[in-house]
Homo-oligomer: 130 residues x 2
């Protein structure tokens, strides 16, 4: 039997304000991770393939990332064909690594949970499902 | 000067399908991290404070988490007052730890980026801003 305890830690302990929303969105997180590991930039079609996105989805997310100042988009030619090249901006790289830093805190917090005190224990009397 | 290279790795390498969307949303990630570190459950007001959420926001996110089978919500009394108790379900705990596992892969990928090859290098000729 178990009853809730007053938690440790200050208010806002789990607010994670540093998780910038424009970066946190799942598809954009994949795009930015691709780009940070490919600092020379990636061609649109390669990026699309690595992130398993459609043309439309990738375009839309790139526009959001570009407007947020995280990504540069260039037009040019390679292998005699018109190409679109995407790259992190220096500011985008810095903000992405800050975001990753906060993500590391989330993981450290989550893994600090005591494994012996698992969910599913019986509640003490007097509680009923909401 | 720099030109993009063909990236390494298989298609979908950065799709991160295991990042379950219901868990990934920023506020819900905070709620679930609070709950996994407090396996006996948390009272609504404590959870609200730790995650720096309003009553309305916390209620809405708890409903989403409850409908997804991640969280239990109980009504009862503590300190002579009606209280709402929130707890991870056993399935919620398992899925959250799976999610954290994928998040660890994202971080490993992001930090594998070679620091010497920073963003902002000059592009080779023939590229212009889109």
């Amino acid at each position: 039997m178990t009853t809730p305890r007053k938690p440790d830690g200050p208010a806002g302990r789990f607010a994670y304000d540093g998780l910038e929303r424009v970066i946190h969105e799942k598809a954009r997180l994949g795009i930015l991770t691709s780009l940070v590991t490919n600092p020379r930039g990636l061609l649109f079609n390669d990026l699309k393939e690595m992130c398993a996105l459609t043309d439309g989805n990738l375009s839309r997310h790139l526009q959001v990332l570009h407007e947020a100042g995280l990504v540069e988009v260039w037009k040019g030619f390679q292998h005699n064909r018109p190409q679109t090249l995407c790259r992190l901006t220096p500011d985008g790289r810095r903000r992405f690594l800050e975001y990753i830093n906060v993500l590391e805190n989330v993981i450290a917090d989550a893994l600090a949970a005591k494994p012996e005190a698992a969910a599913g224990e019986e509640l003490s009397e007097g509680w009923s499902p909401a």
